[in-house]
Symmetry: C2
Subunit: 469 residues, 2 copies
């Protein structure tokens, strides 16, 4: 039934044959213009990131920085006038990186820049020394006879390709997440990967990695791309390449962190929510400006601008700043579990977690009857250079589990051409954020949130995605 109605309205809309039945309470153009003007003269998103990165700085889950960030977020949301601000406890693992140093011993001595992958065990005190086996990829490692791997330091030397949508990440990141398992299966002593990043610099990129209960936990690190080049060049000689690796990461047990949530309660439908997400935690080496200070700034500023410019929305706008995204989406999983009974109240969810590059496309995951509204969103976002993409959005990392529970999502897709130059490095700092670009994000999220909050559109339930063909 819904399907039939949807198909019909969809066709009629497409050809402009009927006025929108959804548009009855839709924001008028003057409101949108007012909101845009307000956003375009506001540095709020940038200022929020500045405040977070300067006043708090690095905030790996469970750390002192994380605790400061939670207090900062609560205070910030209150100051900005969210009428409900609360925390949701999340148990998080607290891991610290400690010392991470490495040296090529032969054929030519070189100190190289490495970092521990998140969650790695330490090497023995003083480090370990072994011959290096270079492989092209995780697959190549899987295909190497175990006797060639045994006792060695495995070096996965796969380069990430630059791409606006970040498509280069997936094919390379498997080496980071799975490499230690595969290397340990063949009895390697340790694993180093070429950094999952598009820069050529001497910053190593960290990121989460996994172990498997059936194999030994071995130390896992990443070399900066420049140092991976140096290591690769060592294989030009016929001499064995040997290295010394010393990593002193530590586990500090479990801590309590928090999802920090701020709501602007709706005037007409307070129990229908526009769910705007970002994550509050960051890795420890940079100040988490792009990942995900930017997202925190964008969604918080957008909700604030809606309220300050056009008053209380009809539906509620909920900003969720998730705990511990980096280390297994722990805050998001907790949220989804704790709120299992009320997820149906979420009209739509969106997450900003891909830096601060300008948005070029909005993908939706709407039930068919709401697709005409996607066109309205496109029309409203068009002045920002944003076009409508497919109805196959997966949302951001912290909301990816929601569509399977029927929660519609959108992906406001950002230009990520340079995102992976800085991602998970000490170089993820405020100066990487362009004020015009983050303001464009702020405006887009404000328009999106306002339109969703002030209409009757119901994109629920999110459609299932067809499997890739």
């Amino acid at each position: 039934m819904a399907m039939k109605f949807s198909s019909l309205t969809s066709i009629l809309f497409t050809f402009g044959l009927i006025a929108s039945p959804l548009g009855a309470t839709l924001a008028n153009e003057a409101d949108l213009q007012q909101l845009t003007n307000a956003s375009e003269s506001s540095d709020l998103a940038f200022d929020i990131v500045k405040s977070l990165t300067i006043e708090v700085g690095p905030r790996i889950a469970g750390s002192e920085g994380d605790k400061k960030a939670v207090a900062w977020a609560e205070a910030k949301l209150k100051t900005l006038g969210f009428d409900k601000v609360y925390k949701q406890p999340v148990r998080v693992r607290n891991w610290s990186r400690g010392l991470a140093e490495a040296k090529i011993i032969s054929p030519y001595e070189h100190s190289v820049v490495i970092t521990a992958l998140g969650g790695s065990v330490a090497t023995p005190k003083g480090g370990l020394k072994a011959e290096v086996l270079m492989v092209e990829s995780l697959e190549a490692l899987q295909q190497t006879p175990p006797e060639d791997v045994s006792g060695k330091i495995v070096f996965i030397n796969k380069k990430m390709q630059r791409d606006r949508a970040g498509k280069g990440y997936g094919p390379v990141v498997v080496g980071r997440s799975q490499g230690a398992i595969e290397a340990a299966r063949a009895n390697a002593q340790a694993i180093l990967i070429r950094s999952v990043g598009t820069d050529n610099s001497r910053f190593a990129h960290t990121g989460a990695m996994r172990y498997s209960p059936d194999v030994k936990k071995i130390p896992a690190g990443a070399l900066s791309n420049a140092d991976a080049d140096t290591l690769e060049a060592m294989f030009d000689t016929t001499n064995p390449v040997t290295m010394h690796v010393n990593m002193q990461a530590k586990e500090h047990g479990w801590q309590t962190s928090y999802n920090v949530i701020g709501e602007i309660t709706g005037s007409e439908k307070p129990n229908e929510f526009i769910h705007l997400a970002a994550h509050l935690d960051s890795w420890d080496e940079g100040t988490g400006a792009l990942d995900d200070g930017a997202g925190v700034g964008i969604v918080t500023a957008a909700a604030t601008l809606v309220k300050n410019t056009l008053g209380q929305p009809k539906r509620s706008i909920r900003v969720v700043l998730y705990a511990n995204e980096e280390f297994g989406l722990i805050g998001a999983k907790q949220y989804t579990k704790d709120n299992a009974d009320t997820l149906e109240q979420i009209i739509v969810a969106a997450e900003s977690d891909f830096g601060a590059g300008s948005i070029y496309q909005i993908d939706t995951r709407f039930a068919a009857p709401a697709l005409p509204f996607a066109k309205k969103l496109e029309k409203a976002l068009k002045p920002l250079g944003i076009k409508l993409g497919p109805n196959t959005a997966t949302g951001g990392p912290d909301i990816y589990m929601l569509p399977a529970k029927g929660v519609p999502v959108v992906s406001l897709r950002q230009d990520g051409t340079y995102y992976f130059d800085y991602h998970h490095t000490p170089n993820d700092t405020l100066d990487k954020i362009n004020l015009d670009d983050i303001r464009q994000n702020q405006t887009a999220y404000a328009i999106f949130a306002y339109m969703m909050a002030n209409s009757d559109v119901d994109p629920r339930p999110a459609p299932e995605l067809e499997p890739a063909q």
Copy 2:
């Protein structure tokens, strides 16, 4: 007399009225084409830099790396077929950076990235803690009442501007070289400068600094530009900004290093030299690929290509790889002193020490009678996109003292737009060199060296420069 002749020939040449009397033995176009073709199919300059950076790596004056570099250079010049290869001892100071760490304590705690400036004394063991005084420039520091400086850590927060010719360097580098003197004069405890670099990254840029015998030596360091932004942001609050700085640089006394010299002896005028320069030393944190592995590769490859492609030149080509440029041009001063009696044998000198960006201009410092030859150089270099600049070249740092002694110089001016992103940082590594660009340099130097070595042109003596107006 010479002047009259020069003026006349210059005019006649300019209007193409006479054939070149200098052109009797001048290389013909077929030779130049052959040389260009050989260079364009050769990776030699790049391969030399690769060999130096991979097999030796960092090579600060007097260090083990420096000793390796000297042995490497001797072996490389011999392998490439230079018929005379010899070393000239140079006494160099051996300073080591040691630990360099800093933390903002208040108003918000932050670990920041610093590096010691070259030659800095250490802080007390365990570091020092003080309030920070931020000033805009060296001049602003000089104008600050001493009582406002006394006991503080001075922070010179002057940004370097990006420029193709590197014009942003001079106005900022005075803070690096003179800052410790001026800060100590007003009894500061230490000085930190914003890095002299055009990047926004978390690499701090080192570089030489000076002390004055009449004031105390105080520790001097540089903050990365990203961390300088962070420190600057601390001054948005009204609270005092305090820092902890710990630098454990050390002097290891004097060592012997060497200028390494390779010659291709001329067939007709072996005692007339085309002098091609670069410096062999580097700072300690990167592998000195741009500064000055590139120069070593370019001039060595150019001379080698001339010999290998067109045989023994008529005049000698001398490649001088200077010791210890970074720390006071010590090798160059030694060279000039030891060879005071034979500098007149140098027909022309050129130095490559500005990275590996493509050359866009050749400036000369020729006696007037040789100016028509500059036009010939321009014609030969034009296919590479190089035009003739003014006759006011100063040469590179290691040869800047030669024109005052009558030695003509040229400056083959490179595009330095990105040079100062990497200059004097750990990020100065091989991957920053573009193969096409360094090959263009190699070709240009080969053409220049060949034309100078196979003509009778005599640009001596170098004219005095008129003072700037």
